[in-house]
Amino acid sequence: MNPVRESALIETRRHFFGRTSAGIGSAALASLVNPKLFAENSADALNSQGGISGLPHFAAKAKRVIYLFMSGAPSQLDMWDYKPKMNDWFDKDLPDSVRNGQRITTMTSGQKRFPIAPSIFKFGQHGSNGTRVSELLPYTAKMIDDLAVIKTVHTEAINHDPAITYIQTGSQLPGRPSTGAWFSYGLGSMNENLPAFIVLHSTVNGGFGGQALYSRLWGSGFLSTRHQGVSLRATGDPVLYLSNPDGMSVSMRRRMLDELGRLNAERFNEVGDPEIQSRIAQYEMAYRMQTSVPDLTDISDESKETLEMYGPEVSKPGTFAANCLLARRMAERGVRFTQVFIRQWDQHGNLPNDIRRQCGIIDQPCYALVQDLKQRGMLDDTLVIWGGEFGRTIYCQGGLTQTNYGRDHHPRCYTKWLAGAGIKGGTDYGKTDDFSYNITENPVHIHDLNATILQQLGVDHERLTYRHQGRDFRLTDVHGKVVTDILS
C-alpha cells in the first residue's frame, strides 16, 4: 500500500474514532435535518410554478416546446442536403478519403462496395434566401422563411437505440432524465389541469411499426417520477385510467371524492402528516383532469379553415396531423413540453417509395402547425423542433438502381430545423462536403442543439443540474455550446 496513504489512514482512524463520543458535528446534523442550510441546488427549493428556484436563469424566449420527432432517422440527402454533384457519381464508390476510416454499422460494413446513390428528388429554391428544399416537402418549403435549418447536426451513436436515447437524454445508455423531464423539473408546470410534459405517438397508414421507442425517452431517469412525460393516447383513455368505471356517474364520483376528502382531512387532523393534504389536492387535480383532458382532445370547436390547413387526416385520432393539432391545443393550455413521435423513417431499402409516404404524411401538418401558431401569435413564444436521431449515408445499402436505393445510418451530419421563439427564420446553417458525409462548416453536436433549446427557455444548460450519486448531472453532460448564430 502507498505509504502516504497508509499513514493517512492511521491518522484518520485515530481522529475519527477518537471523537465518536462527541458524535457527528451538530452543525452537520442540523444540515441533514434541514438540507437547505447547505444545499445550493436542493430540489426542495421550488419556484412559484413548481420548478426550482432561480429559474429561469434569464428571460425566456420560449414558454413551451413542441418537438416533432422523426424516429428512425429521415434522409437528409433526399429532403434537405442538396448535393447536385452526386449525379455524376451514380454507382461509383465512395472515396476512402471521404470515409476516412470512420466506423460504420455492421449492416453495411460487410458490403464489398459503397456505391454512391444520388437523390432522385428535385430540389427547388425557396424563400428569401433561395434555400434548397426537396420536392418531397412542398408545404414545408413554403414556410422556409420561418425556419432555421441546421444541416450539420451530428452525434456519435450509429444505432437507433443508443442514438435516440442520446439525443433525448444526453447519454447513450439508459438511466438519465429526458429533455422534457428536465424542463418539468427546472421550470415546473404552467397549468393546474394538465401534465407539464405530454407525449403523442402517431400512426402511419393506420398502424404502428418501425424502429422501437422506449419509455425512457420521456422518462424521468433519476429525477422524481413526477417529471416523466405522460402519453396522451388516441384510443382508449387519452390519459391512462382517466375514465370512471362503468356504472359510476360523474356525480357519484364527485360524491365519493367529497367523502374521501373529508375522511382524509379527518385523518390529517389526527396525525398531522402534510402528505395527506397533498393527496387530497392530487385527487382534486385528478378530478379536474377528467374534464380538462377530454376538453383538450375534443376538436369540435376548431374552425373548418383550421382543420383544412392540417389536411384530411386531422380528423383521424392518432395521425400525425391530428397530433400536430393537439400539440397546438396543448400549447394554448400551458403544456410546457409536447413531443410528437412518428416512426418508420428507417429506410435501409426502398427509400424513394417510403420517404414519399412519410413526407406525404408530415409535410402539410408541420406547415399547418407553424402557421397556426403564428396566426395565433404563439409562434413567438413556442419553440418548434423537427428531426430525428441521426442521418443517412450517401452510399447505397442493398441494390442500387436509377430509381431505387436504400441508405444506412449516418451520424456525422444530418438535418434538423427549428422555428419560433427567438429562432432566426430563413437561416440555412452549416455546410457538409459534396457527399453529405463530413461537416465542413459550423458543426452542431446534439448537445449543442439541446443547449440551444434550453437557452430559449431561459435556462443556462450548465446550471440546470441535479445531484445524483454525488455528481451534478446535466442534460448536456459536460458538453454543449449554444448555437447563437441561429438566434435572432
Binding site: 500500500m1 502507498n2 465518536t20 442550510l37 425512457r216 450519486q469
Partner: protein, 1031 residues
Amino acid sequence: MMIRTFTISLAMCFTACTGADDSEVNFSSDILPLLSNSCFTCHGPDEATRQSNLRLDRPESALMKQESGHVAIVPGHSDQSELFRRIGSSDADIKMPPPDSDRKLNDEQIALIKKWIDAGAEWSGHWAFQPPEKPDVPAAVEAWRTNGPVDNFIHATLKTMKLSPEDRAAKETLIRRVTLDLTGLPATIHEVDQFLADSSEQAWEHVVDRLLGSQKYGENMARIWLDAARYGDTHGLHLDNERSIWPYRDWVIKSFNGNQPFDQFTVEQIAGDLLPNPTLSQRVATGFNRCNVTTSEGGSIDDEYYMRYAVDRVETTSTVWLGLTAGCAACHDHKFDPLTQKEFYQLFSYYFSLTERAMDGNALLPPPAVKVPSSIQMQQKTQYTQQLTAIDATIAKLLAEFKYTDPQPTEILGELSEEQFVWIDDEIPAGAKPEGNSPWQFVEAPDHPVHSGKKSTVRTGAGDAITQHFFTGATDKLKIGENTRLFAYAYLDPENPPQTLQLQFNDGKWDHRASWGADKAFLAGRNDALNRQMGKLPETGKWVRLEVDASAVGLPPGSELNGWAFTQVGGTVHWDTAGIVSQSLSDEQKRSLFAWEQFRAKTKQPALPAEIQKLLDVEKNKRTPEQTVLLTGYYKRHVHPDSRAKLTDPLAQQTTLKKQIGDVDNAIPSTLVMEDRPEPRQAHILERGQYTEKREAVSSAVPEWLAPPVANAPANRLGLAEWLVQEKHPLTSRVTVNRFWQQFFGTGLVKTSEDFGVQGEQPSHPELLDWLAVDFVASGWDVKRFVKQIVMSSTYQQSSRVTPEKLAADSENRLLARGPRFRLDAEVIRDQALALSGLLIDTIGGRSVKPYQPAGLWKPVGFGGSNTSVFVQDKGDKLFRRSMYTFWKRTVPPPSMVTFDAPNRETCQVRRARTNTPLQALVLMNDVQYVEAARKLAERVITEGGSGVNERVFFAFRSVLSRPPNATELQSLKNLFEEYKSIFRGDPESATKFLAAGESPVNDQLDPNELAAWSMVTHLLLNLSETVTKG
C-alpha cells in the same frame, strides 16, 4: 409533475446557530463535504483536471508550499492560509471558487472552514472509507422506553437535539405496520384480533417471529432486492424481447426465506459459478449479473457492447455493495472519491471475460444459461430414466435371445402386397403451416361426420368460387415409392354438394393435381399431371375415397411431398384421412432380411431412420460386421414378424418413456448465468470511456485503499466477492445495513444510500450505523436477526403522529422522534388490494404473468418484429398474483407500477422516489384491478362481515386499516352506503355495470344493488390516504 408537493420545512437552525460554537469541527463530516463540493473539481483526485498542481483531498498537498510560494492551509493560522484568503475574498480575480463557476461557499461555511483551520486543521480521511469499529452504546435516557442499543443511540441524539420520542403506537397500527413491512401484505382481522388478545410481554415478538417465518417475508425482501439487481423479463434494449431469468428471481426469494447469510448471498450472486463444484442453485444466483440490459440491434458493434455490459456490472456492484459511484471513473479519475480510472478498469476486468456474446440474438436464453428443474421435474426425470434403462435392457435381452439367420439370403423378391400410410388425420403433419381462404376448420362428431380419428375438417364455398385449405412446410416429408397411390376421404353434403373436388400436392411446387367432377378448379381445361381428370363427382351423403396414382400426377418414386391442398368449387365438403398406399411385404417375405432389403430399395414410405437408411445404401457384401449387426438389430425390432411380436410392447414403452423424458426436459425452465472464458479477454484503460481508445492493459484487481485483497483469493470474480465480504471491509456492511434501515424507516441513516462517497450525505447517526454494521457482521451477516432487531426497537414502534413543532424541527423524520410514516411501494399497494379482496393467489415463483393493463400500450412503441410488441393479457389466477411476478417489459414497464414510482429496471436502483401525483389518484380510482378488488372486498363484507350496516362498516374498515373506525368515520361511511344503495336501487343498470369490472365472477347470490353500494364504500376505503400509507 404539476402540483408539487413538498413538506414545508421551517427548520429552525437550532444547532447550526447555537450549537456550532461549542462543538468541535469534524473534518470528515463538516469540512470534507465542503471542500469536495466546492474545490475538488479542480483541486481533487482527478489528475487530468487538476489546477495549479494543488489537491485539497490530500494533506500532503494542501499543507505544502506551492510553486506560487503560498501554502493553502497553515494549521492554526487561517490568516496565513491562502485557501482562507481566497474563499473569503471579494476580489473576483482571487475569489475561490471562481465566481463564474457556479460553486459557492456561504458565510457560515467559510466560518466553519476558518474555525477548522484555526483549531489546527486536523485531517482525516473520509469516514466511510475507514473500517467501522463498534462504538460504545450510549446510556439509556431515563424514562424513555428502550429495547436495546438502537434506541439508546437514537435517544442520545434526540436528547442532544432537545426532542423526545413518541409513545408506542396503538397495537392495531403496529401490527399493520410490521405486517406490511415484513411481508408486503396487510394483516388479517384474525391476526389483529390475536395480537390484541395477547397481553403477554412477548406478544409483539410472537407477531414478529410469525412474520419472519412466513414465506411472504422472502418475497417482500426479494422484491426490494430486484430493484438493485435491475431484474426484468425483457432484454431492455431495441427489440426488447422476452428473456428467461425468473429462476434467478425465485432464487432470491428462497435465499431470503432460508435466511442465507448476506456474505454468502453476495458471493453466490457475484461468483457462484466459480465456487468449487458449484451447485445448480449457486449458478442460478449469478443471474444477478445477467440482469443488465442487452441488445441485438442490427448494425451494432460487438466491442462497444462488451464494454458497456462490463461497465454496467461494475457500476451495479459498486452501487449495491460499495455505495460508490464508480461509473464516474470510467471516463476519468473520480472527481471526489479516490477511485482512479485504472482502478475502475481493474474492476471492469473481472466482468470482461464472460462467454456471453455481445449480441443477445433477441433470444429467450442468450447463453450461457442453465436448466433449472424443479424437484418434481427431477424426480420425474430420474424415474423415467430408470424405467428406460430397464426397458432398454429387456429389449437388448430379447434381441440377443432371438438368433437369426436369413432363410433366403439370395432369393429375388416376388409379388408384393399393399400397405396404407396415413399422413393427415386430426392434425396436419409436424412443422407444416396451415393456410387457406379461411383457416382449417376442424370439427368433431356427433355434429359432423368424421371418417377416422376424432376430427374432420369442413369447408363451404359459394357458387363457382374455388376455395381451399392447405399446408406446406411439413418437416417429415411424405416419400413416394414405386406404385404409390395418394388418397383422401371426402363427405359431400347432399343438400349442398360441390361442383368439383381437387387434390393438389406440393413437392416444392404446386404442379400436381387431380380433379373429380366439373372441370372448374385450378388449371381447368387440361388432363395431365398438372390437373388429372378423374371422372365424375363421387356419391354424396357418405364417406368416399378419392385415390390417384402418384405417377399420374407427375410424382415419380423418390419424390417428397411437404404440402397438400384440399380444394373444392362451391358446396360443403368434409375432408378427412389422407395419405398414401404403397406396396408392402407379406409376413413370409418379412422373415427374410434380404427380401426386406430389396423391398426397401423400392419403397420409401415410411422413411427409415437416417442411420439405418445409410446402412442399406451400403452394398450387402461391403458392410462391416458392426453395420450388419446394427441393421439386423433394426430388422429384428421392426420387421421380422416373430421377433417384432415379442418386442412390440417393450418398444412402445421405450418410445413413451423417451417422449416423457423429452416432455419433462422441454418443460424445465432455463435461466441466464455467468461463465468465464477459459482465456481471459485483456482489459485496457479506455480513454474517456471510449471502447476504441485503448490505453494501458490492466488485469483484475480490487482498489486496495478501501481494503486489502483477501489472502490467496483467486484473481477472478470470486476474489472480488470475497474481498467485498471480508470482515474489515469499510463499506459492504455499512451500505447493507443502511439499505435495510431505509426499507423500514423510509430514509437511510445515510440518506444517499447509493453514495457513501465524499459527495454522499453524512450519516444522521454515524455511531449507530457503525454499531449496526459491526454487529451485523459479528452475527454472521444474519439478515433476519437484523430485521428483527429493527422492528423490536421502541424507535420503530413509536406512533407516527406528528406535531407541527416536530414537523418544523425535522420534516423528513431523520432523527426519528416519531415512528416511520410513508407511502407504500407500488407493489404493496396492489398486493394489499388483492389480499383484501380475497383475490390474491399466493403461489410463489414461476414465469412472470401479465395481469390487467390498458390496451394499446406496447404497440405504439414496440418494434414490429419484437415478441413483446403485442400485449396479451393473461387469464384466471395469473391476474391475481403478487405484483413482483408481473411481467416487466423494460421499455414499457407496467403502468400502474411505474405511476407509483417503481423503476423501469433498466439500471440498478437502491432508492425509490416517493411521489404523490394525480396520476396515482387515477389509478386507484379507475384501474380495473382496484375496482374489481373493491367489489370482491364488498362481497366479503356482506358474506363475512355480519348482518347490520354498522357491523359491516366495522368489518370493511378493520379489514383495510386494521383499526376500528371512529364515530365520524363510521357515520360517514354508513351515510355513503345508504345513499349509494338508493342511487343503485333507482338505477340497477348502473349497479350491474359497476359490478362487471374485472374477470372474476360476481357472487350472484347477493343483491346487486346492495353489493354495488358496498363496493362504493370499499372503493373509497381503498382510496384513502391512510390505506396507501404505512403509518
